[in-house]
Protein backbone atom coordinates (compact mmCIF):
# COMPACT_ATOMS: atom_id res chain seq x y z
CA UNK A 1 0.00 0.00 0.00
CA UNK A 2 1.19 3.49 -0.84
CA UNK A 3 1.12 6.07 1.96
CA UNK A 4 1.68 9.74 1.09
CA UNK A 5 5.07 11.20 1.91
CA UNK A 6 6.33 14.76 2.21
CA UNK A 7 9.67 16.29 1.31
CA UNK A 8 12.07 15.93 -1.59
CA UNK A 9 10.73 19.03 -3.38
CA UNK A 10 14.16 20.36 -4.29
CA UNK A 11 15.37 16.98 -5.47
CA UNK A 12 12.25 16.55 -7.61
CA UNK A 13 12.55 20.02 -9.10
CA UNK A 14 16.20 19.45 -9.92
CA UNK A 15 15.47 16.02 -11.38
CA UNK A 16 12.89 17.54 -13.72
CA UNK A 17 15.35 20.23 -14.80
CA UNK A 18 17.90 17.54 -15.48
CA UNK A 19 15.32 15.56 -17.43
CA UNK A 20 14.59 18.63 -19.58
CA UNK A 21 18.30 18.97 -20.32
CA UNK A 22 18.80 15.27 -21.10
CA UNK A 23 15.64 15.24 -23.19
CA UNK A 24 17.03 17.96 -25.39
CA UNK A 25 20.39 16.20 -25.66
CA UNK A 26 23.37 17.78 -27.40
CA UNK A 27 22.29 21.31 -28.31
CA UNK A 28 24.67 21.39 -31.26
CA UNK A 29 22.18 18.97 -32.87
CA UNK A 30 19.03 20.75 -34.14
CA UNK A 31 15.88 20.21 -32.07
CA UNK A 32 13.14 18.01 -33.53
CA UNK A 33 10.10 19.87 -34.78
CA UNK A 34 6.58 18.49 -34.35
CA UNK A 35 6.22 18.53 -38.13
CA UNK A 36 9.30 16.31 -38.47
CA UNK A 37 7.91 13.83 -35.97
CA UNK A 38 4.41 13.84 -37.50
CA UNK A 39 5.72 13.46 -41.05
CA UNK A 40 8.68 11.13 -40.59
CA UNK A 41 7.75 9.04 -37.55
CA UNK A 42 4.16 8.47 -38.63
CA UNK A 43 4.00 4.91 -37.24
CA UNK A 44 5.02 6.14 -33.79
CA UNK A 45 2.45 8.91 -34.04
CA UNK A 46 -0.23 6.41 -35.08
CA UNK A 47 0.58 4.11 -32.19
CA UNK A 48 0.42 6.94 -29.67
CA UNK A 49 -2.91 8.14 -31.08
CA UNK A 50 -4.33 4.61 -31.00
CA UNK A 51 -3.20 3.66 -27.49
CA UNK A 52 -3.79 7.18 -26.21
CA UNK A 53 -7.25 6.82 -27.80
CA UNK A 54 -7.10 10.35 -29.21
CA UNK A 55 -6.59 11.17 -32.88
CA UNK A 56 -4.57 14.38 -33.20
CA UNK A 57 -1.26 14.09 -35.04
CA UNK A 58 0.30 17.30 -33.74
CA UNK A 59 -0.57 16.45 -30.13
CA UNK A 60 0.84 12.95 -30.55
CA UNK A 61 4.04 14.41 -32.04
CA UNK A 62 4.34 16.74 -29.05
CA UNK A 63 3.76 13.85 -26.66
CA UNK A 64 6.50 11.80 -28.38
CA UNK A 65 8.93 14.71 -28.20
CA UNK A 66 8.15 15.35 -24.53
CA UNK A 67 8.40 11.63 -23.68
CA UNK A 68 11.79 11.31 -25.41
CA UNK A 69 10.31 8.72 -27.74
CA UNK A 70 8.82 6.57 -24.95
CA UNK A 71 5.57 5.69 -26.72
CA UNK A 72 3.70 4.39 -23.68
CA UNK A 73 4.60 7.55 -21.76
CA UNK A 74 3.43 9.54 -24.80
CA UNK A 75 0.11 7.68 -24.91
CA UNK A 76 -0.24 8.41 -21.18
CA UNK A 77 0.20 12.15 -21.91
CA UNK A 78 -2.54 11.94 -24.55
CA UNK A 79 -4.94 10.24 -22.13
CA UNK A 80 -4.23 12.89 -19.51
CA UNK A 81 -4.78 15.71 -22.02
CA UNK A 82 -8.13 14.39 -23.20
CA UNK A 83 -9.55 14.64 -19.69
CA UNK A 84 -9.18 18.44 -19.94
CA UNK A 85 -11.53 18.75 -22.92
CA UNK A 86 -15.35 18.72 -23.06
CA UNK A 87 -17.07 15.94 -25.00
CA UNK A 88 -19.22 17.21 -27.89
CA UNK A 89 -20.75 13.82 -28.60
CA UNK A 90 -20.43 10.72 -30.77
CA UNK A 91 -19.71 10.57 -34.50
CA UNK A 92 -21.77 8.68 -37.02
CA UNK A 93 -20.09 5.28 -37.55
CA UNK A 94 -17.31 5.68 -40.14
CA UNK A 95 -17.92 3.97 -43.48
CA UNK A 96 -14.81 1.97 -44.33
CA UNK A 97 -16.31 0.91 -47.69
CA UNK A 98 -16.10 4.57 -48.78
CA UNK A 99 -12.43 4.82 -47.72
CA UNK A 100 -9.89 6.68 -49.86
CA UNK A 101 -7.83 3.50 -50.01
CA UNK A 102 -4.02 3.70 -49.87
CA UNK A 103 -3.53 -0.01 -49.31
CA UNK A 104 -5.80 -2.98 -49.72
CA UNK A 105 -4.76 -6.60 -49.73
CA UNK A 106 -6.46 -9.94 -49.39
CA UNK A 107 -4.86 -13.25 -48.56
CA UNK A 108 -8.01 -15.12 -49.55
CA UNK A 109 -8.73 -13.93 -53.09
CA UNK A 110 -6.14 -13.46 -55.81
CA UNK A 111 -8.48 -11.47 -58.01
CA UNK A 112 -11.15 -9.33 -56.52
CA UNK A 113 -13.06 -6.21 -57.59
CA UNK A 114 -10.81 -3.17 -57.22
CA UNK A 115 -7.74 -5.39 -57.10
CA UNK A 116 -4.98 -5.54 -54.55
CA UNK A 117 -2.90 -2.43 -53.99
CA UNK A 118 0.21 -2.66 -51.83
CA UNK A 119 0.53 1.04 -51.05
CA UNK A 120 3.32 2.17 -48.71
CA UNK A 121 4.36 -1.09 -47.03
CA UNK A 122 7.37 -2.77 -45.42
CA UNK A 123 6.11 -6.07 -46.87
CA UNK A 124 8.40 -7.64 -49.48
CA UNK A 125 11.26 -5.35 -48.40
CA UNK A 126 14.53 -7.10 -47.56
CA UNK A 127 14.95 -5.66 -44.09
CA UNK A 128 18.47 -4.54 -44.95
CA UNK A 129 19.61 -1.33 -43.31
CA UNK A 130 19.63 1.46 -45.88
CA UNK A 131 22.80 3.40 -45.26
CA UNK A 132 21.78 5.95 -47.87
CA UNK A 133 19.37 7.28 -45.21
CA UNK A 134 22.29 7.80 -42.84
CA UNK A 135 24.17 9.91 -45.35
CA UNK A 136 23.83 13.68 -45.27
CA UNK A 137 22.07 13.80 -48.61
CA UNK A 138 19.90 10.80 -47.81
CA UNK A 139 16.76 12.90 -48.00
CA UNK A 140 16.40 12.78 -51.77
CA UNK A 141 12.83 11.62 -52.28
CA UNK A 142 12.16 9.25 -55.14
CA UNK A 143 9.14 10.35 -57.14
CA UNK A 144 6.28 7.91 -56.66
CA UNK A 145 5.02 6.22 -59.79
CA UNK A 146 1.46 6.94 -60.81
CA UNK A 147 -1.04 5.00 -62.87
CA UNK A 148 -4.44 5.94 -64.29
CA UNK A 149 -7.25 5.01 -61.93
CA UNK A 150 -10.16 2.83 -63.01
CA UNK A 151 -13.15 3.70 -60.91
CA UNK A 152 -14.45 0.26 -60.04
CA UNK A 153 -14.87 0.58 -56.28
CA UNK A 154 -13.49 -1.75 -53.64
CA UNK A 155 -16.21 -3.84 -52.00
CA UNK A 156 -15.20 -5.53 -48.76
CA UNK A 157 -14.11 -9.15 -49.13
CA UNK A 158 -16.45 -10.09 -46.29
CA UNK A 159 -19.37 -8.53 -48.21
CA UNK A 160 -18.51 -10.72 -51.22
CA UNK A 161 -18.54 -13.82 -48.98
CA UNK A 162 -21.68 -12.53 -47.30
CA UNK A 163 -23.51 -12.22 -50.62
CA UNK A 164 -23.12 -15.97 -51.02
CA UNK A 165 -24.03 -16.61 -47.37
CA UNK A 166 -20.63 -18.22 -46.77
CA UNK A 167 -19.80 -16.05 -43.77
CA UNK A 168 -21.89 -15.30 -40.70
CA UNK A 169 -23.80 -12.03 -41.06
CA UNK A 170 -22.44 -8.96 -39.27
CA UNK A 171 -24.09 -8.46 -35.95
CA UNK A 172 -26.83 -5.89 -36.21
CA UNK A 173 -29.04 -4.53 -33.52
CA UNK A 174 -32.21 -2.47 -33.68
CA UNK A 175 -30.06 0.66 -33.96
CA UNK A 176 -31.23 2.12 -30.67
CA UNK A 177 -29.24 -0.15 -28.40
CA UNK A 178 -26.83 1.88 -26.25
CA UNK A 179 -23.17 1.58 -27.27
CA UNK A 180 -20.82 0.88 -24.35
CA UNK A 181 -18.17 3.51 -23.69
CA UNK A 182 -15.15 2.80 -21.49
CA UNK A 183 -14.48 6.51 -21.09
CA UNK A 184 -17.84 6.90 -19.38
CA UNK A 185 -18.23 3.74 -17.28
CA UNK A 186 -15.41 1.55 -16.04
CA UNK A 187 -15.07 -1.91 -17.57
CA UNK A 188 -17.29 -4.55 -16.00
CA UNK A 189 -17.94 -8.17 -16.85
CA UNK A 190 -19.39 -9.84 -18.80
CA UNK A 191 -18.33 -7.34 -21.47
CA UNK A 192 -20.21 -7.28 -24.76
CA UNK A 193 -18.46 -7.07 -28.12
CA UNK A 194 -18.83 -3.27 -28.41
CA UNK A 195 -16.87 -2.77 -25.16
CA UNK A 196 -14.38 -5.47 -26.12
CA UNK A 197 -13.64 -3.81 -29.47
CA UNK A 198 -13.19 -0.40 -27.83
CA UNK A 199 -10.85 -1.94 -25.28
CA UNK A 200 -8.83 -3.74 -27.97
CA UNK A 201 -8.70 -0.65 -30.22
CA UNK A 202 -6.85 1.22 -27.48
CA UNK A 203 -5.00 -1.81 -26.13
CA UNK A 204 -1.26 -2.32 -26.15
CA UNK A 205 0.06 -3.47 -29.51
CA UNK A 206 2.63 -5.81 -27.97
CA UNK A 207 0.09 -7.47 -25.67
CA UNK A 208 -2.41 -8.03 -28.49
CA UNK A 209 0.34 -9.28 -30.80
CA UNK A 210 1.46 -11.84 -28.23
CA UNK A 211 -2.10 -13.04 -27.62
CA UNK A 212 -2.82 -13.31 -31.35
CA UNK A 213 0.43 -15.24 -31.78
CA UNK A 214 -0.54 -17.58 -28.95
CA UNK A 215 -3.73 -18.56 -30.81
CA UNK A 216 -1.66 -19.43 -33.87
CA UNK A 217 0.65 -21.59 -31.78
CA UNK A 218 -2.23 -23.67 -30.50
CA UNK A 219 -3.58 -21.88 -27.45
CA UNK A 220 -7.15 -21.68 -28.73
CA UNK A 221 -6.81 -22.00 -32.49
CA UNK A 222 -9.20 -20.03 -34.71
CA UNK A 223 -7.72 -20.83 -38.16
CA UNK A 224 -7.63 -17.24 -39.41
CA UNK A 225 -7.23 -15.98 -42.96
CA UNK A 226 -6.52 -12.30 -43.59
CA UNK A 227 -9.66 -11.81 -45.64
CA UNK A 228 -8.85 -8.19 -46.16
CA UNK A 229 -6.66 -5.43 -44.78
CA UNK A 230 -7.30 -1.89 -45.92
CA UNK A 231 -5.74 1.40 -44.92
CA UNK A 232 -6.68 4.93 -45.90
CA UNK A 233 -8.77 7.97 -45.12
CA UNK A 234 -12.34 7.88 -43.91
CA UNK A 235 -14.63 10.83 -43.31
CA UNK A 236 -15.84 11.55 -39.79
CA UNK A 237 -19.42 12.84 -39.66
CA UNK A 238 -21.04 14.38 -36.62
CA UNK A 239 -24.72 15.20 -36.20
CA UNK A 240 -24.86 18.81 -34.99
CA UNK A 241 -28.06 19.18 -32.95
CA UNK A 242 -28.27 22.93 -33.33
CA UNK A 243 -27.95 22.72 -37.13
CA UNK A 244 -30.23 19.75 -37.58
CA UNK A 245 -27.89 18.00 -40.01
CA UNK A 246 -24.66 16.02 -40.04
CA UNK A 247 -21.42 17.90 -40.65
CA UNK A 248 -18.22 16.37 -42.01
CA UNK A 249 -15.47 17.11 -39.50
CA UNK A 250 -12.66 16.00 -41.81
CA UNK A 251 -10.85 12.76 -42.47
CA UNK A 252 -8.83 10.41 -40.30
CA UNK A 253 -6.60 7.53 -41.36
CA UNK A 254 -7.51 4.07 -40.16
CA UNK A 255 -6.47 0.47 -40.75
CA UNK A 256 -9.20 -2.15 -40.95
CA UNK A 257 -8.63 -5.91 -40.79
CA UNK A 258 -11.27 -8.52 -41.56
CA UNK A 259 -10.19 -11.97 -40.41
CA UNK A 260 -12.11 -14.86 -41.93
CA UNK A 261 -12.02 -17.77 -39.52
CA UNK A 262 -12.92 -21.40 -39.19
CA UNK A 263 -16.51 -22.23 -39.71
CA UNK A 264 -19.07 -23.29 -37.22
CA UNK A 265 -22.44 -24.81 -37.88
CA UNK A 266 -25.27 -26.02 -35.74
CA UNK A 267 -28.70 -27.58 -36.06
CA UNK A 268 -30.05 -24.07 -36.58
CA UNK A 269 -27.36 -22.48 -38.77
CA UNK A 270 -25.56 -24.01 -41.77
CA UNK A 271 -21.74 -24.02 -41.72
CA UNK A 272 -20.25 -20.62 -42.50
CA UNK A 273 -17.00 -18.78 -41.93
CA UNK A 274 -16.82 -16.62 -38.80
CA UNK A 275 -15.50 -13.10 -38.33
CA UNK A 276 -12.85 -11.29 -36.34
CA UNK A 277 -12.64 -7.54 -36.72
CA UNK A 278 -9.88 -5.01 -36.21
CA UNK A 279 -10.05 -1.23 -36.64
CA UNK A 280 -7.34 1.15 -35.43
CA UNK A 281 -6.19 4.75 -35.92
CA UNK A 282 -3.41 5.25 -38.46
CA UNK A 283 -1.39 2.70 -40.42
CA UNK A 284 -0.93 0.12 -37.67
CA UNK A 285 -1.43 -3.12 -39.52
CA UNK A 286 0.19 -5.47 -37.01
CA UNK A 287 -2.20 -4.28 -34.35
CA UNK A 288 -5.28 -4.30 -36.59
CA UNK A 289 -4.54 -7.96 -37.43
CA UNK A 290 -3.87 -8.87 -33.79
CA UNK A 291 -7.05 -7.10 -32.72
CA UNK A 292 -9.10 -9.04 -35.27
CA UNK A 293 -7.62 -12.35 -34.12
CA UNK A 294 -8.19 -11.60 -30.43
CA UNK A 295 -11.72 -10.31 -31.16
CA UNK A 296 -12.47 -13.67 -32.79
CA UNK A 297 -10.98 -15.62 -29.87
CA UNK A 298 -13.07 -13.70 -27.36
CA UNK A 299 -16.24 -14.70 -29.23
CA UNK A 300 -15.90 -18.37 -28.15
CA UNK A 301 -19.09 -18.40 -26.12
CA UNK A 302 -21.37 -17.01 -28.79
CA UNK A 303 -19.88 -19.48 -31.31
CA UNK A 304 -20.21 -22.49 -29.01
CA UNK A 305 -16.50 -23.15 -28.49
CA UNK A 306 -14.67 -24.39 -25.40
CA UNK A 307 -12.62 -21.85 -23.43
CA UNK A 308 -9.18 -23.43 -23.20
CA UNK A 309 -6.67 -20.61 -23.72
CA UNK A 310 -5.65 -17.21 -22.33
CA UNK A 311 -6.69 -15.38 -25.52
CA UNK A 312 -10.28 -16.54 -24.93
CA UNK A 313 -10.46 -15.30 -21.34
CA UNK A 314 -12.42 -12.07 -21.66
CA UNK A 315 -11.66 -10.82 -18.17
CA UNK A 316 -7.97 -11.66 -18.41
CA UNK A 317 -7.52 -10.07 -21.85
CA UNK A 318 -9.55 -6.90 -21.27
CA UNK A 319 -8.16 -6.29 -17.77
CA UNK A 320 -4.56 -6.39 -18.94
CA UNK A 321 -4.62 -4.88 -22.45
CA UNK A 322 -4.47 -1.24 -21.39
CA UNK A 323 -0.84 -0.20 -21.12
CA UNK A 324 -1.67 3.04 -19.32
CA UNK A 325 -3.36 1.14 -16.51
CA UNK A 326 -0.68 -1.54 -16.56
CA UNK A 327 2.21 0.89 -16.44
CA UNK A 328 0.50 2.83 -13.67
CA UNK A 329 0.24 -0.19 -11.44
CA UNK A 330 3.63 -1.66 -12.25
CA UNK A 331 5.46 1.65 -12.01
CA UNK A 332 3.78 2.76 -8.80
CA UNK A 333 6.07 0.24 -7.13
CA UNK A 334 8.78 2.86 -7.55
CA UNK A 335 6.99 5.27 -5.20
CA UNK A 336 7.90 5.28 -1.52
CA UNK A 337 6.36 2.31 0.31
CA UNK A 338 8.23 3.03 3.53
CA UNK A 339 5.38 2.57 6.01
CA UNK A 340 4.21 -0.58 4.33
CA UNK A 341 7.72 -1.95 4.15
CA UNK A 342 8.42 -1.06 7.79
CA UNK A 343 5.49 -3.22 8.82
CA UNK A 344 6.74 -6.11 6.68
CA UNK A 345 10.21 -5.64 8.09
CA UNK A 346 8.91 -5.89 11.67
CA UNK A 347 6.95 -8.98 10.76
CA UNK A 348 9.90 -10.74 9.13
CA UNK A 349 12.13 -9.90 12.11
CA UNK A 350 9.56 -11.33 14.51
CA UNK A 351 9.10 -14.49 12.44
CA UNK A 352 12.84 -15.01 12.22
CA UNK A 353 13.21 -14.57 15.99
CA UNK A 354 10.49 -17.15 16.54
CA UNK A 355 12.07 -19.54 14.04
CA UNK A 356 15.49 -19.33 15.67
CA UNK A 357 13.97 -19.61 19.16
CA UNK A 358 12.06 -22.73 18.15
CA UNK A 359 15.16 -24.30 16.63
CA UNK A 360 17.19 -23.54 19.73
CA UNK A 361 14.60 -25.18 21.91
CA UNK A 362 14.46 -28.24 19.62
CA UNK A 363 18.24 -28.52 19.51
CA UNK A 364 18.42 -27.95 23.23
CA UNK A 365 15.93 -30.70 24.01
CA UNK A 366 17.57 -32.99 21.41
CA UNK A 367 20.94 -32.59 23.05
CA UNK A 368 19.52 -33.43 26.44
CA UNK A 369 17.94 -36.56 25.06
CA UNK A 370 21.17 -37.70 23.39
CA UNK A 371 23.08 -37.14 26.54
CA UNK A 372 20.53 -39.19 28.47
CA UNK A 373 20.88 -42.10 26.04
Amino acid sequence: MYVAVKGGETAIRNAHKLLAKRRRGDTSVPALTLEQIAEQLSHSVARVMGEGSLYDETLAALAIKQARGDLIEAAFLMRAYRTTLPRFGYSEPVDTAAMLVERRISATYKDLPGGQVLGPTFDYSHRLLDFALAAEDGDAVPAAETAPVEDVGMPRVTDLLGDEGLIEPSSTDSGDAPVGDLTREPLSFPADRDLRLQNLARGDEGFLLALAYSTQRGYGRTHPFAGEIRYGEVEVEFFAEELGFAVTLGTIKVTECQMVNQFAGSAKAPPAFTRGYGLVFGQVERKAMSMAMVDRSLRWQELGEEPVAPAQDIEFVLSHSDNIQATGFVEHLKLPHYVDFQAELDLVRRMRDEWFEKRRQENGSGNTQEAAE
Binding site: S53, L54, Y55, D56, T58, L59, R82, P86, R87, F88, G89, Y90, S91, E92, P93, V94, T96, A97, L100, E102, R103, K110, Q116, V117, L118, G119, T146, A147, P148, V149, E150, R156, D159, S170, S171, T172, D173, A177, V179, D181, T183, R193, D194, L195, F238, A240, E242, G244, F245, A246, V247, T248, G250, I252, V254, E256, Y277, L279, V280, F281
Partner: protein, 157 residues
Amino acid sequence: MTDTASSTTPQDSATARQNVMAVLAAASPEAVAERFERLDAPPFGIVRQPETGLVMVRGRMGGTGSPFNLGEVTVTRCVIRLETGETGSAYSLGRNKKKALQSAVIDALWQCGEIRERIEAEVIAPLAAEQAAAKETVREETEATKVNFFTMVRGDN
Protein backbone atom coordinates in the same frame (compact mmCIF):
# COMPACT_ATOMS: atom_id res chain seq x y z
CA MET B 1 -31.63 35.52 -52.67
CA THR B 2 -30.53 34.63 -56.14
CA ASP B 3 -32.86 32.80 -58.49
CA THR B 4 -30.97 29.55 -58.12
CA ALA B 5 -31.11 29.69 -54.36
CA SER B 6 -34.83 30.48 -54.19
CA SER B 7 -35.69 27.60 -56.51
CA THR B 8 -34.04 24.99 -54.29
CA THR B 9 -35.78 23.04 -51.56
CA PRO B 10 -34.64 23.30 -47.93
CA GLN B 11 -33.06 19.83 -48.27
CA ASP B 12 -31.00 20.88 -51.27
CA SER B 13 -29.92 23.96 -49.40
CA ALA B 14 -28.89 21.94 -46.35
CA THR B 15 -26.92 19.56 -48.57
CA ALA B 16 -25.18 22.46 -50.31
CA ARG B 17 -24.33 24.01 -46.95
CA GLN B 18 -23.06 20.66 -45.67
CA ASN B 19 -20.74 20.62 -48.67
CA VAL B 20 -19.51 24.16 -47.94
CA MET B 21 -18.82 23.28 -44.31
CA ALA B 22 -17.10 20.02 -45.32
CA VAL B 23 -14.79 21.78 -47.79
CA LEU B 24 -13.84 24.36 -45.14
CA ALA B 25 -13.30 21.63 -42.54
CA ALA B 26 -11.00 19.70 -44.89
CA ALA B 27 -8.93 22.78 -45.77
CA SER B 28 -5.72 23.64 -43.93
CA PRO B 29 -5.80 26.64 -41.56
CA GLU B 30 -3.44 28.47 -43.94
CA ALA B 31 -5.69 27.86 -46.95
CA VAL B 32 -8.77 29.12 -45.09
CA ALA B 33 -6.90 32.19 -43.79
CA GLU B 34 -5.61 33.06 -47.23
CA ARG B 35 -9.10 32.98 -48.79
CA PHE B 36 -10.72 34.65 -45.79
CA GLU B 37 -8.39 37.63 -45.80
CA ARG B 38 -9.21 38.40 -49.42
CA LEU B 39 -12.94 38.60 -48.64
CA ASP B 40 -13.09 41.81 -46.55
CA ALA B 41 -15.64 40.20 -44.27
CA PRO B 42 -18.35 42.50 -42.84
CA PRO B 43 -18.70 42.97 -39.06
CA PHE B 44 -20.06 40.02 -37.11
CA GLY B 45 -20.84 39.04 -33.55
CA ILE B 46 -19.71 35.87 -31.81
CA VAL B 47 -22.52 33.57 -30.75
CA ARG B 48 -20.29 30.77 -29.51
CA GLN B 49 -16.58 31.37 -28.99
CA PRO B 50 -14.25 28.98 -30.81
CA GLU B 51 -14.11 25.95 -28.55
CA THR B 52 -12.05 22.75 -28.72
CA GLY B 53 -13.52 19.50 -27.51
CA LEU B 54 -13.75 15.81 -28.27
CA VAL B 55 -15.92 13.69 -30.50
CA MET B 56 -15.91 9.94 -29.94
CA VAL B 57 -15.49 8.27 -33.33
CA ARG B 58 -17.53 5.15 -33.95
CA GLY B 59 -16.88 2.19 -36.18
CA ARG B 60 -19.04 -0.79 -37.03
CA MET B 61 -18.33 -4.43 -36.15
CA GLY B 62 -17.15 -6.08 -39.37
CA GLY B 63 -17.55 -2.71 -41.12
CA THR B 64 -21.33 -3.14 -41.48
CA GLY B 65 -22.60 -4.37 -38.10
CA SER B 66 -23.47 -2.76 -34.78
CA PRO B 67 -21.55 0.36 -33.78
CA PHE B 68 -18.72 0.52 -31.25
CA ASN B 69 -16.54 3.34 -29.94
CA LEU B 70 -13.14 3.47 -31.65
CA GLY B 71 -11.48 6.48 -30.00
CA GLU B 72 -11.73 10.25 -29.80
CA VAL B 73 -10.74 13.09 -32.12
CA THR B 74 -10.12 16.72 -31.25
CA VAL B 75 -12.71 19.03 -32.82
CA THR B 76 -13.00 22.81 -32.81
CA ARG B 77 -16.31 24.56 -33.39
CA CYS B 78 -17.55 28.12 -33.53
CA VAL B 79 -20.79 30.05 -34.24
CA ILE B 80 -21.00 33.68 -35.40
CA ARG B 81 -23.81 36.00 -36.55
CA LEU B 82 -23.55 38.65 -39.22
CA GLU B 83 -25.19 42.02 -38.62
CA THR B 84 -27.57 41.09 -41.41
CA GLY B 85 -28.75 38.15 -39.28
CA GLU B 86 -27.20 35.10 -40.95
CA THR B 87 -25.69 32.60 -38.52
CA GLY B 88 -22.55 30.75 -39.57
CA SER B 89 -21.15 27.57 -38.00
CA ALA B 90 -17.91 25.69 -38.25
CA TYR B 91 -16.90 22.24 -37.10
CA SER B 92 -13.57 20.73 -37.96
CA LEU B 93 -10.97 18.26 -36.75
CA GLY B 94 -8.05 19.71 -34.86
CA ARG B 95 -7.54 22.56 -32.44
CA ASN B 96 -7.23 25.62 -34.68
CA LYS B 97 -9.55 28.32 -33.30
CA LYS B 98 -8.73 30.92 -35.92
CA LYS B 99 -9.70 28.51 -38.66
CA ALA B 100 -12.98 27.75 -36.86
CA LEU B 101 -13.83 31.44 -36.58
CA GLN B 102 -12.95 32.22 -40.19
CA SER B 103 -14.81 29.17 -41.45
CA ALA B 104 -17.94 30.18 -39.51
CA VAL B 105 -17.83 33.65 -41.08
CA ILE B 106 -17.46 32.17 -44.56
CA ASP B 107 -20.38 29.82 -43.86
CA ALA B 108 -22.54 32.80 -42.86
CA LEU B 109 -21.52 34.82 -45.90
CA TRP B 110 -22.38 31.87 -48.14
CA GLN B 111 -25.92 32.08 -46.80
CA CYS B 112 -26.26 35.72 -47.91
CA GLY B 113 -27.94 35.49 -51.29
CA GLU B 114 -26.02 38.32 -52.96
CA ILE B 115 -22.55 37.12 -51.97
CA ARG B 116 -23.03 33.37 -52.27
CA GLU B 117 -21.77 33.20 -55.83
CA ARG B 118 -18.60 35.02 -54.90
CA ILE B 119 -17.97 32.69 -51.93
CA GLU B 120 -18.58 29.68 -54.15
CA ALA B 121 -16.23 30.98 -56.86
CA GLU B 122 -13.45 32.42 -54.73
CA VAL B 123 -13.40 30.14 -51.70
CA ILE B 124 -15.31 26.90 -51.98
CA ALA B 125 -14.63 25.90 -55.61
CA PRO B 126 -10.86 26.47 -55.48
CA LEU B 127 -10.49 24.74 -52.10
CA ALA B 128 -12.62 21.82 -53.33
CA ALA B 129 -10.50 21.59 -56.48
CA GLU B 130 -7.27 21.49 -54.44
CA GLN B 131 -8.71 18.79 -52.22
CA ALA B 132 -9.93 16.73 -55.18
CA ALA B 133 -6.53 17.02 -56.87
CA ALA B 134 -4.74 15.86 -53.71
CA LYS B 135 -7.05 12.85 -53.47
CA GLU B 136 -6.54 12.05 -57.14
CA THR B 137 -2.76 12.04 -56.61
CA VAL B 138 -3.16 9.55 -53.76
CA ARG B 139 -5.37 7.37 -55.97
CA GLU B 140 -2.89 7.44 -58.86
CA GLU B 141 0.10 6.69 -56.65
CA THR B 142 -1.80 3.86 -54.99
CA GLU B 143 -2.93 2.47 -58.35
CA ALA B 144 0.73 2.15 -59.42
CA THR B 145 1.19 -0.41 -56.61
CA LYS B 146 -1.57 -2.71 -57.88
CA VAL B 147 -0.41 -6.33 -58.02
CA ASN B 148 -1.31 -9.43 -59.91
CA PHE B 149 -0.42 -12.49 -57.93
CA PHE B 150 0.02 -15.71 -59.85
CA THR B 151 -0.59 -18.96 -58.07
CA MET B 152 2.21 -21.38 -58.86
CA VAL B 153 0.73 -24.60 -60.18
CA ARG B 154 2.43 -27.81 -59.18
CA GLY B 155 3.15 -30.44 -61.83
CA ASP B 156 3.18 -30.07 -65.59
CA ASN B 157 0.35 -27.59 -66.03
